[in-house]
Structures are given as structure tokens and as C-alpha cells.
């Protein structure tokens, strides 16, 4: 039984390097009436998520939609336990797998195989377990002998494939996917879709943040629309997904 329960979740983001203590900004503030300036010494805060409440249960395949900066990635990071909420509460039952960026957690100087080990360790697998996964990953990614080359020599699509393959060979109860997997050619997108289909046949939860309408239509049975950090009425305007 996997379940995600979100109640009035809020996340405030401090933004540094945007402080108002420069002469230019101060002058500018005078002209505009001081509205841009958050305060002389206080940090600038951005409310990335505001009052989000949702229940996500077994079998839900949630498509997370909204414009850039609407808070999709932030919400995924909260669900993954990466960002702590500033307000509200999130309660998650089930193991969580997160695929938020195809590059993070990969070391460009190391070979594909070394990176499989690195990721595998991060996912909590032992050496023997990881070794047994390698043939399957090699087959799925079609990287072949490229797996013995440093991944800095890979194309974006190739490293995205590798990241996707490693993260989905283990089966968490809840899979969080950010749109980064979009990088791949048509042929690989097919494979990704098949892998996702396979994954979704089991009663688990998937939360997928994407702009790709095709993926949304095929794989999600529910949508959450974020608008400037707030949850707007879902399902009402599915046709204008950006």
C-alpha cells in the first residue's frame, strides 16, 4: 500500500545573491516606489509552494503540470525528502525512488559501469546486486561498449538513458520523475514508455512532471496543475497543457 498525503504544504525558498544592498538597486527602488526591495537586511524569500493539499493513493499515476517555475520540481523534491516543508505536512507510505535529473549523481569522469555502481550504492544496493543488474542495464540502454567509457563522452540522450535505466531497475513503491527524461530519441522514448508501462502495471504511485502531452495522455490517470505554487483546479483545462 503506497500512499502520499499532503496537507497545506508550503515551501519558502531563500534567494541569496539577490539582496538589495547595492546602490543601483536602491536608486531603482526610489524610482519604482520601493516595491522590488524585500528589506534592507532580510533575505529575499520566494514562496515556491503555497497551501498544497492532495491525497495520492495506490494506482494513481499523477501528471504534474504547470508552467516553468510553477513549483513542479520543488514539489517532487519535497516528496523525495530533499526539501523540508516550511509549513504543513507530507506523509509518505512506501519506498520512494526519485529520478529528478539525468546528470546529478553521475560523475562525468567515471565510466558508465562505475556510475552504475555509484548510483546503485546511492539506491542502497550491495556490490553483488549491482553487478547482477549490469547486463540488463546494458541491454536496456543499448550503450554496449560505451559503458566502459567515461560518461563525459556521452551525449545528453545517452546519459539520460543510463540514469533512467539505473533508477528504474529497482522498483520503489513510489516513483517520482521530472521531465529531464525527455532527452532521448524517438526509439528510446518508446523504451521508456514501455518501461513505465511495466512499472505502472503494478499497484504503485507514479508522479510525473512533464510538459510532454503525449506522455501525460498515455501514462497518467490524474493531473495536478500547479500555478505559481498553488494547486489550481485539476482536470478542468487539460487541453492547454503547456
Amino acid at each position: 500500500m503506497a500512499h502520499i498525503s499532503i496537507s497545506s504544504l508550503a515551501v519558502d525558498f531563500p534567494v541569496y545573491g539577490a539582496n538589495s544592498r547595492s546602490l543601483k538597486k536602491r536608486l531603482f527602488a526610489q524610482i519604482t516606489g520601493g516595491r522590488v526591495v524585500a528589506g534592507e537586511h532580510r533575505e529575499v524569500m520566494v514562496r515556491a509552494l503555497d497551501g498544497i493539499s492532495a491525497e495520492i493513493s495506490d494506482g494513481d499515476r499523477v501528471g504534474l503540470v504547470g508552467r516553468n517555475g510553477a513549483g513542479k520540481s520543488t514539489l517532487l523534491r519535497v516528496l523525495a525528502g530533499l526539501y523540508a516543508p516550511t509549513g504543513g505536512e507530507v506523509s509518505i507510505t512506501g519506498s520512494v525512488g526519485a529520478l529528478l535529473s539525468s546528470h546529478a549523481g553521475m560523475d562525468p569522469e567515471s565510466t558508465g559501469v562505475e556510475n552504475i555502481f555509484l548510483r546503485g550504492h546511492i539506491l542502497g544496493l550491495g556490490r553483488a546486486e549491482i553487478r547482477s543488474l549490469i547486463p540488463g542495464i546494458a541491454e536496456f540502454t543499448e550503450l554496449g561498449s560505451y559503458l566502459d567509457l567515461p560518461i563525459r563522452t556521452y551525449s545528453d540522450g545517452m546519459s539520460a538513458r543510463l540514469a533512467f535505466a539505473v533508477s528504474t531497475t529497482i522498483r520503489p513503491d513510489i516513483l517520482l520523475v521530472d521531465e529531464s527524461i525527455g532527452a532521448g530519441d524517438a526509439r528510446f522514448m518508446d523504451k521508456i514508455e514501455r518501461r513505465l508501462e511495466e512499472f505502472m502495471s503494478a499497484p504503485r504511485i507514479v508522479v510525473l512532471a512533464t510538459h510532454n502531452v503525449g506522455l501525460l495522455d498515455r501514462f497518467t490517470n490524474r493531473r495536478l496543475r500547479l500555478d505559481a505554487g498553488r494547486l489550481s483546479e485539476p482536470d478542468s483545462d487539460t487541453q492547454d497543457a503547456p
Partner: protein, 284 residues
């Protein structure tokens, strides 16, 4: 509120429940430190990986660490031995031990500054305890230190020390040394993530501290004992590990200073990390 682990073990066991809310305050930070430490597979792997990476495609690999330390000690031993007319059989071991532990101390602190800010990609995207990135820095420096210790063995072969039971004091001395540099590195790691001016400040302080600390020169070379030696915690830390290796007993004062620092400093570092834990991912 059941488990607060941010790192649920993947395949086995009943489904874990994680609760994230602002009420959890420092507790999650402390459990992060404990859970992180237990993931030796992770930080150990990272540490070995870091060193391997540094010397990828070089023939001698990490033994370049040993060689460059050997050259430093050899050249400085010769120059200053001549300059101050000191017997090489006592001066070179003193210099080697001093340099090796000073290097361990300072590089752990300086690299500690970058522990979290350098791991932004992981912290923002890959769920694992934050403290893993800190343990990685300590483990990596421990490995570098182990390579440097080869020099001390060579020096001991050339200038055989008189063996005495005092050598055993190295064990508790090293433990205290390690605890102290670890909490210093953790404090630097947290503060540097929030305030990006701190790493350059630390780097320049460390450089100046080298001259204030008896590493090339000896404390007893000064006519009257200067106050800045007794007030210098780095001197006491060095004494705990260097003196036993040279067959001397560290002063009681040094033990007390370092033990006191270890307790107070560790408590402070853990409290600071626990307090900052929730905000760290937003700072990197």
C-alpha cells in the same frame, strides 16, 4: 510520526512511512548524522573514488601524494637543518610528522568548507543523508593521510627512533585529533554553505596559522615560552600525535585542551548541523 528517515531502504521490509513537517526541527539533523555514518559503503566509495579520480591516468596514482610529501620533507629538512644547524636524525622526523599531520588537519578543514556546497547536484536531486557528503571529505583526507604516513615509516627506517611504550599514546592522541578536525570541518561545511565568504577566510587563516604553529620550528627554540603557543589549539592537537611518534609524552595541558575542545566543539557542531539541516538544501 513513525520513521523520519530520508533514506528508506529500497527493496526489503515493510513499507516505511516518512513524515516531513516543520515540527521535526533538530531531530532529523541528528538522525541524519547517525544514518549517514552507517552508510560507510557510500562515503567510503565516494572517498576512494575521489582519490582515484585525482590521479586517473597517472602511473603512480595516489603515491604521488607520498612523493610530493617526501620531497617537501626532504628539501625542508635539509635546508632548515643546515640553517639552524640541527642534527638531522631528530629534526627530519620532527618535520615529517609535523608536516603530515598539519596537512591532514588543514586539508580536512579547507576541503570541509566545500563538503555541502560542492555536492549541490546530489543534495538537490538524490535522496541520501546530507552527512554522507561530510563523512566523504573526512574519509578522503584520512586516505591521503595514510599515503603520507609511508614517509614517516621511511624516515623511521633512515633515522631509527628509540622505541618506547610512549608510542602507544599515539592511539588516544590520534582519536582526539580526528574528533577535533571532524567537528571543525563540519562547522566549516555548514557555515560555508550559507556564507560564501567563509572558505577564502579559512584558507588564508590556515596559511597564517602555519607560521604561528611549531611545525618547522620547535616550541623550545623560543627563549621565553611565547603565549601564542599555549593559546594555539593547533599546537596542542599536533603535540598529541607528533610527540608520541617521536618518543615524547605530550603535556597534560595538551590532553586537557584537546579533550575539552573535542567535547565542546562536537556538541556545537552537531547542534549547528541539526539547526541548519532543514535549510541546507536551499543554500547549496
Amino acid at each position: 510520526m513513525a520513521s523520519t528517515s530520508t533514506f528508506p531502504d529500497q527493496p526489503h521490509g515493510p513499507e516505511p512511512t516518512s513524515v516531513y513537517s516543520p515540527r521535526q526541527r533538530g531531530r532529523t539533523g541528528i538522525s541524519d548524522l547517525v544514518v549517514g555514518l552507517s552508510h560507510a559503503d557510500l562515503w567510503g566509495h565516494f572517498a576512494v573514488h575521489d582519490i582515484r579520480l585525482r590521479f586517473r591516468r597517472s602511473v603512480l596514482g595516489p603515491f604521488w601524494l607520498t612523493i610530493s610529501m617526501g620531497i617537501t620533507v626532504g628539501v625542508l629538512g635539509f635546508i632548515f637543518g643546515q640553517l639552524w644547524n640541527r642534527p638531522l636524525d631528530s629534526f627530519v622526523p620532527y618535520l615529517a610528522a609535523g608536516f603530515i599531520f598539519w596537512g591532514f588537519l588543514t586539508s580536512t578543514i579547507v576541503e570541509g568548507c566545500d563538503a555541502f556546497s560542492g555536492a549541490g547536484g546530489f543534495i538537490r536531486n538524490v535522496p541520501m543523508p546530507l552527512s554522507v557528503h561530510f563523512y566523504r571529505v573526512v574519509a578522503r583526507n584520512l586516505l591521503v593521510w595514510a599515503h603520507n604516513m609511508v614517509i614517516l615509516v621511511l624516515v623511521a627506517a633512515i633515522f631509527p627512533p628509540r622505541l618506547s611504550p610512549v608510542l602507544l599514546l599515539f592511539v588516544p592522541g590520534f582519536a582526539l585529533f580526528l574528533v577535533n578536525i571532524s567537528w571543525l570541518a563540519l562547522v566549516c561545511a555548514v557555515i560555508s554553505t550559507r556564507y560564501r565568504d567563509v572558505p577564502p577566510i579559512i584558507a588564508s587563516l590556515v596559511q597564517v596559522a602555519f607560521f604561528f604553529t611549531p611545525i618547522i620550528w620547535r616550541a623550545d627554540q623560543l627563549s621565553g615560552r611565547a603565549f601564542f603557543i599555549d593559546l594555539n589549539p593547533a599546537y596542542h592537537l599536533l603535540q598529541l600525535v607528533r610527540a608520541p611518534l617521536l618518543g615524547e609524552t605530550p603535556a597534560l595541558e595538551s590532553w586537557l585542551v584537546c579533550a575539552g575542545l573535542a567535547v565542546v566543539g562536537s556538541l556545537f557542531a552537531v547542534a549547528l548541523f541539526a539547526r541548519a539541516h532543514r535549510r541546507l538544501p536551499f543554500w547549496v
